[in-house]
Structures are given as structure tokens and as C-alpha cells.
Symmetry: C2
Subunit: 189 residues, 2 copies
């Protein structure tokens, strides 16, 4: 029990890891903990659009812990260029450190979920990636392109970076977003 409690206290640090999006209408940046919550609820809400074989409970579990590595590395906007291999390697080292707080078999179970998400190869991981890539777009489209504008991300780069993974994991979601991106793309550089 003490190991679980220590794990939960360690995870508390995720509340201090800021991302590039701001909650709608707020000045501050969102943090990785509230993001993890929102993307898990998005996946739950989108369940009917997942492929029939997708285990949505596994998707939710993955999303709840997919960002824990950022406790050590910080968040990195998906539009950053270069250095991704080193960043991903550092996140894996961090995830291992953090899940080590847990007793077995929970430790391995969580690490496997984290690795499955990172690999992005199972239907569950693809669906989880679609939700994770879509959420900044869902927020930005309702907030004048906030994080894209602030970081000088062009319409073309948005589509190039998030289009394929969203389409692969949840085609209906991409059909919806693509039209809105084109229609409201005027605010993009």
C-alpha cells in the first residue's frame, strides 16, 4: 500500500508540467494532469467511433498514464523539429523510474500500457493517439488557434503532423476536424 501511495504522490508532479494549450478563455497554460483527464474523457465519449475490436477501457488506461514521463522531461509540442529520439528515450527512462514506485504486477502492467501507447501499433494505441492529437485542435479551433498562433505553426504543418495519426485511429474524427481546419484556417499563419 505504501508503494501505491508513494506512486500517487510522485504523479502529483504532473500537475506542474505545463503544455502549450491554455484552457479555453484562461490565461494560464494547461498542465499534463488535466490534459490526461480530458483526453481520457474524449476517448470514452468517442467510443462508438472506434473500430469494433477496440477495448476502450484499455484506451482510457493508456491515456491516463501516457504523459507520466513528462514529470522528468517536460512537455514538448508535437511541432518541434528534431531531437525526438532523445526526447522519447528520456521519457522512457522517466516512465520506468516512476512506475518502479509500484509493486508487481502493477508496475509491469502500467509500463506495458505506456510502451503500447508509445509504439502506437495496436488498435487501442492508434485510437488513443487519435484522441491525444485531436484534443489540442479541438481546443484551438474554439480559441482562435491559440497554441498554433503563439508558436507560429502553419495550417500545413498542423495537417501534416496530426492528420495521419487521427485518420489512422479515428477516421470520422479526422473528417470532422479537416473541414473545420480548412474553414477556420484563416487565423493560421
Amino acid at each position: 500500500m505504501q508503494q501505491i501511495i508513494d506512486f500517487i504522490r510522485e504523479l502529483d508532479k504532473l500537475k506542474g508540467i505545463t503544455r502549450k494549450n491554455r484552457p479555453l478563455g484562461m490565461d494560464r497554460f494547461e498542465n499534463a494532469a488535466e490534459h490526461s483527464w480530458q483526453v481520457a474523457v474524449l476517448a470514452l465519449s468517442l467510443a462508438e467511433f472506434a473500430d469494433p475490436g477496440v477495448d476502450i477501457n484499455r484506451v482510457v488506461r493508456m491515456l491516463l498514464i501516457h504523459d507520466v514521463g513528462e514529470i522528468d522531461t517536460g512537455d514538448r509540442i508535437v511541432y518541434a523539429e528534431g531531437g525526438w529520439e532523445e526526447h522519447k528515450e528520456a521519457e522512457m527512462v522517466a516512465a520506468r523510474r516512476i512506475f518502479r514506485f509500484l509493486p508487481e504486477p502493477k508496475r509491469s502492467e502500467m509500463m506495458e500500457l505506456w510502451e503500447e501507447f508509445e509504439a502506437g501499433e495496436t488498435p487501442e494505441a492508434r485510437f488513443a493517439h487519435a484522441a491525444d492529437r485531436a484534443i489540442p485542435a479541438i481546443l484551438n479551433l474554439a480559441f482562435n488557434g491559440q497554441s498554433w498562433v503563439e508558436n507560429g505553426i502553419t495550417f500545413e504543418r498542423v495537417v501534416a503532423r496530426i492528420g495521419a495519426p487521427i485518420k489512422a485511429g479515428c477516421p470520422v474524427l479526422w473528417s470532422y476536424l479537416e473541414v473545420r481546419l480548412e474553414g477556420e484556417g484563416a487565423f493560421l499563419p
Copy 2:
């Protein structure tokens, strides 16, 4: 799809609902969105201590949406005296308003999860309540009793308010917390 997107954007407001706990070592108060994430991960991590029949996936779903009513009502510390019936009624009206963004059957499914949590009668709801009541204690015990000290909550009131629900939903967790509360209760008024 538009209904789901509107729902997720409405939920974004939960990031602005502050609670009485502060993230460990931070000045600001935590918000209900990051709390919902942390309590869901706590439930997942505690799964082995749930009664054999408990569907942990249902527990996680409940916890992810248990606080959405606070978007309209704000958070209320569990130690507040009186007015609970009115507060709970207002939260239910708010939950209905918010889940109405969703299409059926998602709308009813989420509302049922929310009501099941509120009623606290199923094994899943009892386990979810145990996690929800335990998390402020888990944080406070690592932060000099922060929210209890700031709100003048005595050791006796802590035990009286959180003891029974934690014991009912997860006895092992209460055994753990009870000893720590007694041992470190010195910081309490």
C-alpha cells in the same frame, strides 16, 4: 460528432474549478479536472484491493466524470456543515445540463454513471467513493495537513467524515490511512 466536441469544450471549464487541496509543494489550489485524473489513477492502482466482483473500468469511468456538476456549483469541501441537500440537487441539475450536450445513448450512459456514483450503493460506487475521500488525505499527509490546517478541520472531524466511506469501499486503504492519521495527527488542530 459536433455534440461530442461541444461536450468536451464544455468540460474544459472543470479546469477552472478550484478545490481546497494544493498540489504538493505548490502555492495554487488544485482544480477539479486534475483531481479527477489523479483519483482515477489511484483507483486503477488500488484495483487489487477492490472486492473481487468490482468492475474497475466502471469505477474509472465514474471517477472521470464524478465532478462535472461542479462546473455550475463549484467545489464544496466535504467538511462543510449543512446545505448538502441543496448542493447535491444543484449538482444533479448541472450534470443533466452538461451531459445533454452528448447524443444518446452516451448521454444516458454518462448520467447513469454519475447517478450511480452519487448514490454510492453499488460496489463500484463504494470503491470510487473510497478513492475520492482518500485522495485529499493522501495529499495532506504529505503536505503538513495543508487543506485541513487552512480550514481548521480537526483530527476527529477528518476521521468522522472520511473513515466510514473509505472503510466501506476499500478497508485496506483505511487501515493504512488510519494509522498515519493517528501518527501524524499532531499537525491537526
